[in-house]
């Protein structure tokens, strides 16, 4: 007894499942939708350089929150000596006015759901 039918069915099922990303994204998704961020109009330079911000902004915000809330420190000195108030609303969102056009673009793309907006008011850019 070979059970050929069952084995072939199993293999087909395996291939279908294993190639999920292939058919799912091509048939039902948008594979080439690289997020485009709307950058601030006036400001050219963030608190740190772009690559650092890209990789570590979540840790920086986390650290800011802890320092402000727990230690009462309010001033951040960047690596090139500039001073900033450690505040999401008063600092970051001043330039990045819209959550939808900046934050969400990458976060949605990467399926990241940060809990900033659990407390902070969502900036709309209006």
């Amino acid at each position: 007894m070979y059970d050929t039918g069952k084995i072939l069915a199993g293999l087909v099922a395996f291939i279908v499942v294993a190639t999920f990303p292939l058919w799912f994204t091509n048939l039902f998704g948008s594979p080439s939708a690289r997020p485009v961020l709307e950058l601030p109009k006036g400001e050219k330079k963030c608190v740190e350089d772009t690559e650092y911000m890209r990789h570590w902004h979540m840790n920086m915000l986390d650290q800011w929150r802890n320092e402000v809330v727990r230690e009462g420190k309010r001033m951040y000195v960047s690596s090139d000596g500039r001073k900033f108030e450690m505040s999401l609303n008063k600092n970051c969102l001043k330039c990045h006015e819209s959550r939808a056009k900046f934050c969400d673009r990458c976060h949605n793309y990467m399926a990241v759901d940060p809990y900033c907006w659990d407390c902070h008011v969502t900036p709309t850019g209006e």
Binding site: Y2, I7, L11, L22, T25, C106, M110
Partner: protein
């Protein structure tokens, strides 16, 4: 030795990724060519191996029965450990494949020579380790779909949320990261420190564990310590699935290393013991019902064999049988008459000429 060899092999692979991307900048090779090659090898390899197994028939129905059979209607059958139909077999296989039923039975022998005693206690560590490893690996694997799909399916997001439930650290640590590394570590350590297990372990056993450990560690590093541009990585991943990939310069060599180790795993898998993931479905001692006496199983190569027929048997013992009053097909007189009638030399050469 086998462990050291395997460790060196995995470290060499890491070094290779470093030299290849970090030094020589062969991003297209490590980011595009190898992933394609490895996925093709993986899929075709698995299919090929399964077809190889499928080519050989299952001549006999040989389930290992681990409970009461179906017999008289008033005797309670153990349907999952001794299935008697296809549905029950499915049940048994689900228990086996999803819950490692057989491993769950595991016991540990305690030899007490002084008391002339052997006792057996339950031993669930291997089962726990195996479950932890396989399921955490599955979740980790599944989570990675966020790179390979756009939009990201809700189930993937849900998995991430549940996995990062404790919201410890930024970005959140996933529970499965630690379970995975811990479980692989456990499986490795037991191989190294249980003498019998070390004795039976081969490079074939150490290498995949170390490779997995390498994959897990580099993955952890990439998320928490040596971050890299995830958007660029997702672009590469989507490029791969939509056949227009570009290996990003923004991604670090460590990312390419992580990817490379996965590619190696993919290419290694079909030719290794990891094929148990498919083989377990085909194990005749588990995937057949124990209904042999009710439903005849057909062996496709059932060939005729030399048997000792009753006629040959009676020919040898007829006189004695007759004398003892046992019924015979032909009395000695009949047999003698037949023999002299057809006595043209064709002696019925049977296997009966053996003297005691």
């Amino acid at each position: 030795m086998k462990f050291i060899g395997s460790l060196v092999a995995v470290l060499l692979l890491v070094l290779l990724a470093y030299l290849g991307v970090g030094v020589a900048g062969l991003r297209e090779l490590f980011g595009v060519v190898l992933p394609y090659v490895s996925v093709v090898v993986l899929l075709l390899g698995i299919v090929w191996r399964v077809l190889c197994w499928a080519k050989s028939p299952v001549p006999f129905k040989i389930p290992t029965t681990c409970g009461q059979e179906k017999s008289l209607p008033w005797i309670k059958q153990n349907k999952l450990d001794n299935p008697s139909n296809g549905l029950q077999v499915v049940g048994r296989m689900i228990l086996e494949i999803l819950f490692f039923r057989s491993l769950f039975r595991n016991t540990r022998m305690d030899f007490r020579g002084g008391e002339e005693k052997v006792v057996y206690g339950p031993s669930k560590w291997l089962w726990i380790g195996a479950i932890a490893f396989h399921y955490s690996f599955l979740v980790v694997f599944f989570r990675h779909l966020r790179f390979f799909s756009e939009p990201v399916p809700w189930l993937v997001k849900l998995t991430q949320d549940v996995d990062g439930f404790f919201q410890l650290g930024v970005p959140a640590f996933y529970i499965t990261t630690f379970v995975f590394i811990g479980a692989v570590g456990y499986l490795l350590l037991r191989r190294l420190f249980i003498p019998q297990l070390r004795y039976i372990s081969l490079v074939n056993d150490y290498f995949p564990l170390l490779l997995l450990l390498g994959i897990g560690t580099t993955g952890f590093f990439l998320r928490h310590l040596f971050k890299t541009d995830v958007v660029a990585i997702k672009e590469l991943a989507l490029g791969l699935v939509s056949f227009g990939p570009k290996a990003p310069v923004e991604a670090s060599w460590l990312f390419y290393c992580h990817l490379f180790l996965v590619c190696v795993l993919f290419m290694y898998l079909p030719f290794s013991k990891i094929m148990h993931l498919a083989g377990v479905f085909l194990s005749p001692s588990r995937n057949m019902p124990n209904n042999n006496r009710a439903v005849r199983h057909v062996n496709p190569w059932n060939y005729p064999v030399k048997v000792h027929t009753y006629e040959e048997y009676e020919d040898e013992f007829r006189e004695k049988m007759y004398a003892a009053g046992l019924p015979v097909e032909k009395t000695p007189e009949q047999a003698a008459a037949e023999k002299s009638a057809g006595d043209n030399g064709d002696d019925a050469s049977s296997g009966t000429d053996n003297k005691e």
